[in-house]
Amino acid sequence: MAISRSDVERIAHLARLEIDAGQAEDVRAKLDAIFALIDELNAVDTRGVVPMAHAQDLSLPLRDDVVTEADRHALFQRTAPAVEDGLYLVPKVIE
């Protein structure tokens, strides 16, 4: 499947990545080469094969529904770009 410029724009938007216009063609060409490699999978007959999501066939463990972590928000927020009164600051989203 050939990757077009509009594909690149669409997935870059979905991935929340700004792509510099000057680099768009290089990005497209490299993705195109990667998908040529991936497309080798099309030739494989996988009818009836169960998809394998994980190495070990385990059910997810359950734990008691109780608080186990201490409140460490001050420590964790120390690495945030912008914080005020324990809240993360972002640009205004509601007018």
């Binding site: 929340r16 990005v27 999978l41 690495t79 945030a80 972002v90 205004k92």
Partner: protein, 497 residues
């Protein structure tokens, strides 16, 4: 003395021939002398290391020292280390201080090891050459114009250059084994779930696994003893009885069945690499092993499967880097969406962006079945190949990589060419089975060649046994690179974050 193996240094500490403080000071001096040329370390924690060394010496004086007490090690910068920068080789986290320790970091700390620093790596562990790091490439200690492999290239180069006797790495598609191969040391990727992923900054969660680097199999076993173990904080961490990974080291190899898949010995393998692997097989035969032909018919599909699944998981995992809770935030933006896009565009390098885009594409509406589901089905076929093969053999053997280390820049503009370097390593991650690389020779140009040993689930002790017995009969693991003369002036860093 400073350049001994973990086991040798442990004996020296125990006998009182050196203290942990002396050993740590000596290795810190080696790092100061050689790191400017190698760029293997991105953080050196002199103060923390000396404090830990003093504590280790005190523990020894008090009679509470264990087998790893006082031994200096390094951690790959993808593992969280409380109070130290954990950058993942990325501009995104260049100023990020980890608030807690990864499980494997805590395990090695509890065992008394001395953390001297954090090692350079491909950005977010995405790469096979260590050229995608924001902090500049790591140099191969054997030849500085060659790559050390990746993504754990800093750890591998640091151990190969005898700057530390052991280090941690992580392996999602070969990121421990391929750099071990390129730098002439040992590296082990355990069975998925043996080492907790808590505090390992996620790349592809169904494939990521931490493991040890050292110069000998025995040292890898000692490190793995402190890294493995159940951890309720990682839902994929396996609950099983603790193992002593050194228990089978001395076992003779008589009766060992070594599986040789034709798929690992065909076209594409460099002739010098193939010759070294053949010589290693002959050595194992002399030690009592028998060779068995096995088939891995879907081996060639491992790379395309991996480059669907790993980017898919990465695109999801790396969505957390939004410039809000941690990491880089752009200075100028118009609104929230623009802030996300610019922060991520500035914070991530080209290879990381490429994989996020591939992953986003294969998971996007209308393409999920054709790519993601298809790749998961072929992943099953690859795991089944191994299951069938292990019915007739105990270990599978072949080259770790098709070539020895390549030159810096040789593949950095061709992602597909770079990805094909992982052809022999990715399958073990897809299956979730253990695998290790050990040195087994050199090219005429003087670059190390790695032998890959793969085994069935939970066969780490057997792999370490085979590797240890091989190392009793060979001396490839004792060869050391010649480093540039001491105290050369620091080379300019490519990027000063």
């Amino acid at each position: 003395m400073l350049t001994g193996t973990l086991a040798e240094l442990a004996a020296a500490l125990q006998a009182g021939r050196i203290s942990s403080v002396e050993l740590t000071q000596g290795l810190l001096a080696r790092i100061a002398a050689h790191n400017p040329a190698l760029n293997a370390f991105v953080t050196v924690d002199e103060e923390g290391a000396l404090a830990a060394a003093r504590a280790a010496d005190a523990a020894r004086a008090a009679g509470t020292a264990g087998p790893l007490t006082g031994l200096p090690i390094a951690h790959k910068d993808v593992l969280m280390t409380a109070g130290l920068t954990t950058s993942c080789g990325s501009r995104m986290l260049a100023r990020f201080t980890a608030p807690y320790d990864a499980h494997v970091v805590a395990g090695l700390k509890d065992a008394g090891t001395v953390l001297v620093g954090k090692t350079n790596m491909d950005e977010f562990a995405m790469g096979s050459s260590n050229e995608t790091s924001f902090f500049g490439p790591v140099r191969n200690p054997w030849q500085h114009d060659h790559v050390p492999g990746g993504s754990s290239g800093g750890s591998a180069a640091a151990v190969a250059a005898r700057l530390v006797p052991g280090a941690t790495g992580t392996d999602t598609g070969g990121s421990i084994r391929q750099p071990a191969s390129f730098t002439g040391i040992c590296g082990l990727k355990p069975t998925y779930g043996v080492c907790s992923r808590y505090g390992l900054v996620a790349f592809a969660s169904s494939l990521d696994q931490a493991g040890p680097f050292a110069r000998t199999a025995e040292d890898c076993a000692l490190l793995l003893n402190a890294m493995a173990g159940h951890d309720p904080r990682d839902s994929t961490s396996l609950e099983r009885p603790a193992e002593d990974y050194t228990r089978d080291l001395a076992r003779p190899l008589a009766g060992l069945r070594v599986g040789l898949p034709a798929e690992y010995f065909g076209a594409g393998v460099d002739a010098e690499v193939a010759a070294a692997i053949e010589a290693a097989i002959a050595e194992l035969r002399r030690l009592g092993a028998t060779a068995v032909d096995v088939r891995l018919p879907n081996a060639r599909l491992a790379v395309p499967v991996y480059y669907v699944l790993a980017p898919a998981e990465a695109s999801s995992n790396l969505s957390r880097f939004d410039g809000v809770r941690y990491g880089h935030r752009a200075e100028k933006y118009s609104d929230l969406l623009d802030m996300y896009k610019k922060s991520r565009a500035e914070g991530f390098g080209d290879e990381v962006k490429r994989r996020i885009l591939v992953g986003t594409y294969v998971l996007s509406h209308g393409y999920y079945d054709a790519y993601y589901l298809k790749a998961q089905q072929v992943r099953h076929l690859i795991a089944d190949d191994f299951r069938r093969a292990y019915a007739s053999c105990d270990v599978i053997l072949g080259p770790t990589a098709p070539t020895a280390a390549f030159r810096l820049g040789a593949k950095s503009d061709d992602p597909v060419e770079m990805y094909l370097n992982d052809i022999f390593t990715v399958a073990a991650n897809l299956a979730g089975a253990p695998a290790m690389s050990i040195p087994c020779g050199f090219t005429r140009a003087g670059l190390p060649i790695g032998l890959q040993l793969q085994g069935d689930y939970f066969s780490e002790a057997r792999l370490l046994n085979v590797a240890h017995q091989f190392q009793q009969a060979t001396d490839w693991h004792r060869r050391a690179p010649t480093l540039a003369s001491e105290a050369s002036p620091p080379a300019p860093q490519e990027v000063a974050p």
